[in-house]
Amino acid sequence: MNSVFVRHKWEPYLWLLPSILLMLIFIVFPIAIVFKLSFSHISPAGVVGDFVGFGNFQKAINDPAFKQVMINTFIWVVSVVGFSTLIGFGVAVLLNQKLFGRKIVRSIVVFPWATSLVIQASIWNYIIKYEYGNLNNVLLNLGIIKNAINWRVSYQIEFMWECWVGIFVTIPFVTFCILAGLQSIDSAYYEAATVDGAGAWQKFRHVTFPLVQPSLTVSTILNIIYVFNSFPIIYTITKGAPANKTDTMITLLYMRAFYDRQKGPATALSVIGFVVLCIVSGIYMVSSLRKEEH
């Protein structure tokens, strides 16, 4: 067994204590405040008032933008997590092979991870400007296009750009999680598969994929949480305009809380988001753990 000698039954808990305390005070306590606020009346200026039951929740759900924003949130999470996992997988497989300059490429791949989201979002906001953006500049000067293209011709397209930025910043994390999984695979498995006459695809399907799955599970859960909670990208590029059509839940609740001064419904919205997130990641975790056991 990989465990050390423990003298007392309570000893492990003592080891956990600092981290539990840290999180309890600085995360759980604020969460509790937010829960409390979601049941309180909050004045437009921000003064916290009396208990109002589920009034805030009702208001949050009756928000005219609620439906559109839920759809957006769904598209946002699924597309960003999905595509970044897909692309990240490809990149990881690529970087797991013998390549000239692999070290440099790996260092480059971590760049987006190492850059603050606000900065990333600002850069991309600049890049896709129609009138003076850098994408048009480069493409025009290289002679690839003849006239400047409006890269943000409609809000759907703008939302796609936001998803792209989301994918862009998420790829490194997925890549390295999967790369870690790939590198822990013993080459003996492949040798055995070769002896059994397996082709490249079969090797991937029956050796690589099952062995990488644990890394994939964790990276996907963390990604769902991070992507769902991601705020600066959309806030910097469109601020949800026009009329909340490009908002996700997090940016909507920010707009509602601080622009529209409806803090009560906004906190209720955040509690709803929390519950949804718990359920989604719970289901995902349970189902993939069960799959692993099979």
Binding site: F5, L22, V34, G90, L94, V109, V110, N137, Q183, N229
Partner: protein, 523 residues
Amino acid sequence: MTKKQKIRNKHRWLLLVFLSLLLSIILLSLPVYSFRQIVYSKRHANTPVDSEKYIEAKALAQDAMLPFGEDAKLNETVTHRTNSKGETTTMVAFEVGVKFTRNGWSWMKSGLLSGHILLIAFGSIVLASLFAVLSYQSGQKIQDKHAYHVKDRRLLIACVLSLIALLLIPVFAMHANYTFNRNIPFLLDDNALDAPVVQQGMDFLFTQEQDPISAFKGLSFQATGFLWMLFAIFFLNLIGLIKLYQGEIAAALLTGFKYVAVIVLCVVILYPYFVMFITGFRTPVEANDMRFRYIFPTKWIWSNMTDILNRGVPQYLLNSAVLSAGATLIAMLCGIPAAYAMARMDFKGKKAYLGFVIMSQMFAPVVLLVGISQLMTTLKLNNTILGLIFINAAFNQAFAIWLLRGTFISISSEMEQAACIDGTSTVGALLRILLPMAAPGIVTTLIFVFINSWNEYTISTVLIATPTKKPITVGITQFSSFNMIEWHYLFAAALLATLPVIVLFMLIEKHLVSGLTSGGVKG
């Protein structure tokens, strides 16, 4: 495969090399570079047809046509419009278009830089073919080991030459576009840097008396198409050489594809950083240039950097460093014991603890703003970096524990067990045996937490009131405020904020994978 077959195959590939050489010569002789230039374009508002002004304008346009002879064509459009007051206005537009062609040889002789590039590309292909033939013959004649070696080296040189030619074609296309794809008025105002290039281009296309005053636009699509053909032919040449060299075309292609994928990946990832860099050193005018004149700054304004340094950036950087270092320290102090327990001990509630850790990540900091701010007030930590340190440490606990636990699990516990049997305490085992062994993983986690704290934005915005305590992510918002975005300053500051982090990340990149390894194995 018999030897005969092998030789026949080689003949075939050598033929391909020759064929591609021949094709490229033919292609360069064809007059395929066609130019459709608008040499004169002028609109006249409020100019009714047959009025004095109209006749004058038309005469001007016809004058502009003269030097171009048969090639030129005058196009006249008349737009009538009735305005809200019932008055009718007329606008006439005259456009003189010229269409003519050039071939590759004349281009090479033109003295344009793009012509030189084409010449080098073509020369490389000729040389490559020559080397191929030489190596082929020497390989045939002398059968000893040494000769094969020579042959291989010659073929390798041929491959490289051919590859150079291949890469030069897009460079040629780019430079040709740079020369021709522009409007003359730009030359006339402030485009001093490009003036010689444009002048050369004009000399190549037009004689002295021909003066394309108003517009000077592009290689036509046709030529671009032929350029791609040239590219394809050179590619064939390269394939032939590779086949001669190795024979395994599938492997060669796959390798080629891999490298293409890697290059595309790097270009895409580096692109925003490239933008950040070049924009950070532009003048404000060029950062907002709506005529897209230059990819690179005409003048590198290094003083952007000193300007932002005078606007509080060093203090912000220092704050960020203190904040991140503090957060890292606390996150590690709390995280290492927890990860140790998770990795090495069996106890009830392990799963519950894990659930708790994951749950703690489920609220976005934005959502918790009110709660956190209230907590800070309660603890009298409002408007202090210390408060931010604790918050960042707490928000990074989950990741730190996950990474550290993975690292610890990947290290065998035999030595610790032995030490424990010898009477060392668990603390001693951790400190003296496990930690030194887990150093790479710990460094990874350290830097990871550091970077996350460095990049945090939302909470700092609300918690920190005093400007001298702001971290860099909040500090740079002064360049992108609601009132005016100073792109050049914003990106110069972003560069300063990003660089240290990227360097740190590159340092741990090697350990990152091993740190993440088995971190994900079973929750």
